[in-house]
């Protein structure tokens, strides 16, 4: 598993990705929660009928998550947080799915579990993805993610949810600004 076990999060690194303005300085992110269920496929996130827009991601982003919540793209504000259930991002390898979530302003995705390719793609393009118990989050809750402490605070419900630390290798990629920058900086892999 690419997000397994023992690695301890290095938050000064992890904080470099995602919604930079929000978290860059202090490892904190804050936004409203949008709640989704289990099995949110990449077809629901980036529908195949907009295949021709893949070369125009700003336009494709206007349809992000459209088949799971038709109003999502018009409601989401920069820094908002998507909370899914199990197996978030299953299906196609289309990197456009996490990319348009990021373009639309999504600061982070929380889920009970992620599909492998979606998780890896998100790290590569710098979208924060964290595994935690999302049952304690409802639509509209104000959430604060503390990357240093490894907790999501549900400010609306006044409770804390711990998230699984990212594996070391992914932190290295994130801290370099994504996979492309990691390769450029290190002239190859340095994991």
């Amino acid at each position: 598993m690419e997000n397994n076990n023992s690695a301890k999060i290095k938050n000064e690194n992890a904080s470099l990705n995602g919604n930079d303005k929000n978290n860059k300085d202090n490892g904190m992110m804050r936004g409203r929660g949008f709640k989704f269920g289990d099995d949110i496929s990449t077809d629901l996130i980036a529908p195949g009928r907009y295949f021709h827009l893949r070369s125009n991601m700003a336009e494709l982003a206007k349809h992000v998550l459209e088949d799971a919540d038709p109003g999502f793209a018009s409601k989401v504000k920069p820094g908002d947080i998507v909370a899914g259930g199990r197996n978030f991002g299953l299906g196609s390898s289309r990197e456009h799915a996490p990319a348009i979530m990021k373009i639309a302003g999504v600061g982070a995705v929380l889920a009970k579990s992620f599909a492998r390719i979606f998780f890896r793609n998100s790290i590569n393009i710098g979208l924060t993805v964290l595994i935690c118990d999302t049952d304690k989050i409802d639509e509209g809750d104000m959430l604060e993610i503390d990357l240093r402490k490894g907790v999501v605070r549900n400010l609306t419900k006044n409770l804390e949810i711990r998230f699984n630390p990212l594996p070391e290798v992914m932190i290295k990629i994130l801290s370099d600004g994504g996979l492309v920058d990691h390769i450029i900086k290190n002239k190859g892999f340095n994991l």
Binding site: N4, D43, N87, G91, E95, H96, R120, I125
Partner: protein, 416 residues
């Protein structure tokens, strides 16, 4: 004592690796298709590369929207054609077929590491390769460096034993398995298919099973490379690339799943998830508007032959559209020469160009509101075939063909 995955990844990491290790490995084959390729090209350029590391085994496939139905996609196709020329990579253009089929026909050898910007890259695992899907950025790095990083996965061994009953095919086995272990039952894991039924399966049947490993979340779906593999590579004029690959006795598996195939009936995945499964014999009467036979899951010669065997001398039901998408030009030609295409067309089928066609919801068979499609493809997510208000069921080619005749989802054993 190693699993097949550990063996292949060790030989590509230059050191002994085990499940749980992170490894940077050499990659033999890298590919992207027209949905993921243009983004990979822009990432390759961002990396500062204009060439690919291993041109003969770097391939761009134009198969998802082929031929192009829209000018935006035509422009994306141009990006791939131009970059292939510039970089030295191979191009597989419209009409040649679905990437996964062409990889197994012409490129992949047992023991290879294959990465592709398409989730069903796992299909090549049927040849005893380690093959996995990734996104465009990972693949861009693969094109540029012929390397990737991987967490060596734990392996779940699936033992298919017993005997396949009448009307039960590889597709039924994999749908049954996914129903049993669920859509995330093998997430991050490799599936290794074993048991007496697995060794007796044709290579085409193995492709079908490996193709759908990702529908259980798996990173790879691997068969041992054996005499069946050898024979197939020989038929494809690639005998020299065969080598036997099997797991060591005593290799460590995270789990073993025993399936008695004698118990498996013709199966269906119901909307909107692949793991929402049911034996055909137990579902209520579901009227079908469209039937699709083909794709990278079940668009090979024997699949079309099975369908034609059922459709011969029969007509599809009134109000049903039957679309046939051969997986590749080679399959198409073989089916044509064998009279299979003629039989299918006589029954009322519309044969479309080899490629992904309606399975990805771009063109050539998009569903209308409220319509039902029974397809031999691998995935039935909401919106998959271009309309979130439509309903997709999955089955074997036999079930699909017989259902096209009946006009509703029907048990193929009635026709055999």
């Amino acid at each position: 004592m190693k699993t097949i995955t550990e063996k292949i990844l060790s030989s590509h990491a230059g050191r002994d690796v085990r499940a749980g290790d992170i490894a940077v490995v050499d990659v033999d084959i890298v590919m992207a298709q027209d949905g993921t390729g243009p983004l990979a090209v822009s990432q390759i350029k961002k990396l500062g590369f204009s060439k690919v590391a291993n041109p003969a085994k770097s391939i761009f496939f134009i198969d998802h929207a082929a031929p192009s139905p829209r000018k935006e996609l035509s422009d994306s196709h141009k990006v791939l054609r131009d970059f292939a020329k510039e970089s030295g990579a191979r191009l597989s253009d419209i009409g040649e077929g679905v990437c996964h089929q062409i990889l197994v026909e012409s490129y992949v050898c047992p023991g290879d590491v294959v990465i592709g910007a398409d989730s069903h890259t796992c299909t090549s695992g049927a040849l005893g390769a380690f093959a996995t899907g990734m996104g465009s950025t990972d693949i861009a790095v693969g094109f540029a460096l012929a390397k990737t990083w991987l967490l060596v996965p734990q392996t779940i061994k699936v033992n298919f034993n017993g005997k396949l009953g009448k009307g039960v095919y590889a597709k039924d086995l994999i749908i049954y398995l996914i129903g049993k272990i669920t859509a995330d039952g093998a997430t991050y894991k490799a599936l290794e298919f074993s048991g007496s039924v697995s060794s007796g399966l044709t290579i085409e049947d193995r492709f079908t099973i490996s193709n759908m490993a990702v529908e259980a979340g798996a990173k790879a779906g691997i068969f041992a490379a054996d005499e069946t593999t050898n024979r197939y590579l020989g038929q494809r004029g690639r005998a020299e690339c065969f080598k036997e690959i099997r797991a060591d006795e005593g290799a460590k598996y995270e789990a073993e799943i025993d399936i008695d195939c004698t118990e498996v009936e013709p199966m269906i995945s119901m909307p909107h998830t692949v793991d929402n499964t049911m034996p055909v014999s137990r579902i209520d009467k579901v009227k079908v508007d469209q039937v699709l036979i083909g794709t990278c899951t079940n668009g090979r010669l024997n699949d079309l032959k099975i369908a034609a065997g059922i459709l011969k001398g029969r007509k599809i039901a009134e109000g049903v559209r039957l679309i046939v998408a051969p997986a590749s030009r080679i399959v198409y030609l073989e089916a044509l020469r064998a009279g299979i295409i003629e039989t299918l067309i006589e029954s009322g089928a519309t044969v479309i160009s080899p490629g992904c066609g309606p399975c990805v919801g771009i063109h050539q068979g998009i569903l209308g509101d409220g319509e039902v499609c029974l397809s031999t493809q691998n995935r039935n997510f909401k919106g998959r075939m271009g309309n979130p208000d439509a309903f997709i069921y999955l089955s074997s080619p036999a079930t699909a063909a017989w259902s096209a005749v009946r006009g509703f989802i029907a048990d193929p054993r009635e026709a055999l």
